[in-house]
Symmetry: C2
Subunit: 452 residues, 2 copies
């Protein structure tokens, strides 16, 4: 919902070039709220408002704009002013934003940035999506190991406005190798003895991630150890960036939503549900719905080869949807359990035999329970003539549930083994496999029991 509360006033202030009021508006609330209140303005108007804010506030509000708005402003407004803005955006955000911008514009902007910042952008943009390098920021406090506590405090209070976070201070040797870390809390406590060398108060048992590590690994480490930030190092243990708690929260939320959507056969959205155009959404759903539809036509072909049997024993049809659904449900239970356990780091591929055995046992047990239910239900639905007819539904259900739990557990493990994201397609795959398997098992159980 667009908040239109302040729009008339904002437009009036713009028309009157009322710098003072516009500056005050930008400072009045948290930047995220200010960005919301500007939702109804055009990108051009929004930029005119921002130009009245001080540089710091401007960039904070800009970071809360939607990607579309950011893109439009960067591509259409004065290059020099935009370059100054880009310079102020946090390094990890900046790379994400520039990734969506017209290449010619990016090239022009890069020319206007200091050489060091330009190199920083080019280096960060090389890390593949989903790695620690792609999430990390390069602004962090780095202190030489030979400072005293007092010198460190002076250094920080001088520089505190440049940095995204000063909650950890990273201590390096003269070649930028990470040697230790001091938290803001430890530094404040150490102020009682201000002449101590910082190397004596620092922690040396460090948790780090490699720049090419998967972001899921980063999340698991930060969550497990309750860290505010985790340092990112390269192969030679040079510190190259940090990943902070807020980036971790963003990664956790984004990947959780992506996994949920993928499990339901929807390609993850780049924007919120209401902001995604109906065409984009249609494509992201249609592609999977179509593939699943085509996959399920295999059930029609499978059924066709049993057409005569079904015609002879018309009661068989009654349980077809029930069996298909039950197979799908037991399969998606297993695959979801395995996918969530893999992503939380609760199981690894090395546990595969234990997992599959467990799911086999689970299938045996759950299948037995459901087949007993089936034994009660079958006579309520159709007139059972002999015991073999009575056994068709229970035996099929038992076999289908076992196939479901085993397929549902093996498939995500296989995906993981060959390097695919387990959440990517396991559930839809399992669904199609169980549709076809369920049909084939049903017909074969029926053939074996009543037609011989």
């Amino acid at each position: 919902m667009v908040n239109t509360l302040f729009l008339p006033e904002l437009r009036e202030m713009l028309a009157e070039h009322n710098s003072e009021d516009l500056r005050e508006f930008c400072l009045a609330l948290h930047p995220s709220r200010i960005a919301e209140f500007m939702d109804g303005l055009s990108a051009d108007e929004a930029w005119q408002v921002l130009r009245h804010a001080d540089a710091d506030t401007r960039v904070q509000i800009f970071e809360y704009f939607t990607h579309d708005r950011q893109k439009e402003i960067i591509e259409t407004q004065d290059r020099q002013e935009v370059a100054a803005l880009v310079l102020d955006i946090a390094s990890d955000e900046r790379v994400d934003i520039l990734a969506g911008i017209d290449e010619a514009v990016v090239a022009e902007l890069l020319q206007r940035l200091p050489a060091e910042e330009r190199r920083d952008i080019l280096r960060l943009s090389q890390y593949p999506d989903g790695t620690a390098g792609a999430v990390m920021a390069t602004e962090f406090v780095r202190l030489p190991e030979d400072l005293t506590v007092r010198q460190a405090v002076d250094e920080i209070s001088r520089q505190s406005e440049t940095y995204e976070t000063i909650y950890y201070l990273y201590i390096v040797d003269h070649e930028n190798h990470l040697r230790g870390v001091v938290s803001a809390r430890q530094l404040l406590a150490a102020m009682r003895h201000p002449e101590t060398r910082i190397a004596e108060v620092m922690e040396t048992a460090l948790t780090t991630v490699n720049v090419m590590d998967d972001e899921e690994e980063v999340v698991n480490k930060v969550a497990k150890m309750d860290l505010l930030a985790i340092p990112v190092v390269d192969q030679e243990r040079h510190i190259v960036g940090i990943i902070t708690h807020d980036d971790v929260i963003d990664v956790v939320r984004a990947t959780a939503t992506e996994d949920q959507l993928r499990a339901a056969g929807v390609e993850p959205l780049e924007d919120t549900y209401l902001r995604t155009s109906i065409w984009t959404l249609g494509w992201k759903r249609g592609i999977w719905l179509g593939l699943l539809f085509l996959g399920s036509t295999l059930t029609a072909l499978a059924l066709k080869s049993y057409n005569q049997e079904v015609a002879d024993w018309e009661w068989l049809v009654l349980f077809l949807p029930l069996i298909i659904s039950t197979g799908g449900n037991s399969g998606s239970q297993s695959s979801t359990l395995i996918i969530t356990a893999l992503s939380r780091g609760h199981i690894t591929l090395a546990d595969w035999s234990r997992i599959v055995l467990r799911e086999l046992m689970m299938g045996l047990g759950l299948g037995l329970g459901l087949s007993l239910l089936g034994l009660v239900i079958a006579p309520l639905v159709f007139e059972v003539k002999d015991v073999r007819q009575l056994l068709v539904l229970p035996m099929t259900v038992w076999a289908v549930v076992i196939c479901g739990t085993v397929t549902g557990s093996i498939l995500p493990l296989v995906f993981k083994r060959i390097g695919w994201e387990p959440a990517l397609m396991s559930n839809p795959f399992v669904a199609v496999i169980m549709d076809v398997l369920g049909t084939v098992i049903y017909m074969n159980v029926a053939l074996a029991l009543i037609l011989k």
Copy 2:
């Protein structure tokens, strides 16, 4: 997997009462790793090891034990020692741990705690699961508004070891009303003018949550504003606790996993996949699998009333699984999109008409696409005699997809409206509804087209 690397050495040290080595072992690595290395010890042995650690390390390691192990230690070991341990556990963790302990033991322990801590535990344990009050900790830095910057720094460096976090300092008036906040960064920067009053440097535009707010609301605020911690206030704006970034990460991960499991019809687990007993897991899956099975038997009853038609037109059976699956898929796509958008705060109930309209359009579009596919597929699967036969599959698919998208979008909104958790049962409910609706729509389309 239990790490058995240090078990023999640990047992030897215990047998020899080698206090010094045991104390060093406890300090050698991050507490989470130490807890892992003790996985193979009995609860009694693990406690004997911990008794050699200093009180601070002891409680840190203890917090990483599994809930079962914590419970066993608290219930069986010396009450006085356990009470001392409980005193040191962070207030939010403590309440969670005590919730699982035998009531008689808790009563005994509470008697041995100072009155203030006892009241704190009793108060925190009253907040319902899933509220801000149940997640918050009560250890935070609270400073009177009339201190100077220097006095504040002195106060903190004196007390820094008592608190879970000093990243924000909450400024209160003499009646404990929250007046403002100063970050550690701001305080360090303000050290250049140490005689300034803290009330002059504090931020007064505060983001707070109410003690009864839903934890999802807390997550949305913290994530949106990139906060390290958010203060929790009661109705009269007294500060009663804080929720820190690490608690937020835990809440996000836990609720994401819960939502994924519920969407697949699995009751959320209290422990990891491999640590959950097969009986517990069987129950958490079986209850839903059984209910879904019973729900799907409605399809058998629905089909029964069309038994004659199916017998006359045997090719109708061929597409039954395909139609059932397609309805289920389109429904779960919609419900998952709506559930994730609700939990991320991207949509609210007020958007309901826009959402349902959007999903109706989506159903019209996607259904049309799939029905065109059906038009191509039908003649490949069976010998089509006339155009009315040809139209049965496409028209059914179209109608079923529309029903799927509309049901899938309305149900989570209805759940939310009546105060149920939308993720709780929407997907399984939608699945059963679409099984039955799919069957009924199919038969009625067939009746209307070919039997009249």
